[in-house]
Symmetry: C2
């Protein structure tokens, strides 16, 4: 299935925050094939065959604020 690469701008203030997001997205494997989180840049890069809405909902359920997202 075709994969897309999305970048979400998420408010993360410590490695506990970024680890939490990594943990919930890892549960979407193998439909999520790559996760790259930068605490410094406040970005969550996801390569996936899933629609962005699914990823956005999953991140939102962590209670973290998603400021924006884009297709890369």
């Amino acid at each position: 299935m075709a994969e897309n690469h999305y970048q979400f701008n998420v408010v993360m203030t410590c490695s506990g925050c970024s680890n939490a997001i990594n943990r919930v997205l890892t549960k979407l494997e193998p439909e999520v094939s790559k996760i790259d989180i930068s605490l410094e840049d406040q970005t969550v890069d996801v390569t996936t065959s899933l629609p962005y809405e699914t990823i956005l909902e999953k991140i939102s359920k962590t209670g973290k604020e998603v400021k924006s997202w884009k297709v890369l």
Copy 2:
């Protein structure tokens, strides 16, 4: 409806972590009537008419590790 008071022991490393948990639990109001989170004690106290499983699932979806829980 009868309310219970549950205490969850959750790994939280910064105020961003505890705020995220507060945010998702607040969405369960009014079934959740009181939320008291201590970053120092690593505890999440919840007064609610909902079963503990519902609260546990909601906290788990934040990606935070729940170490234990008990009825107070």
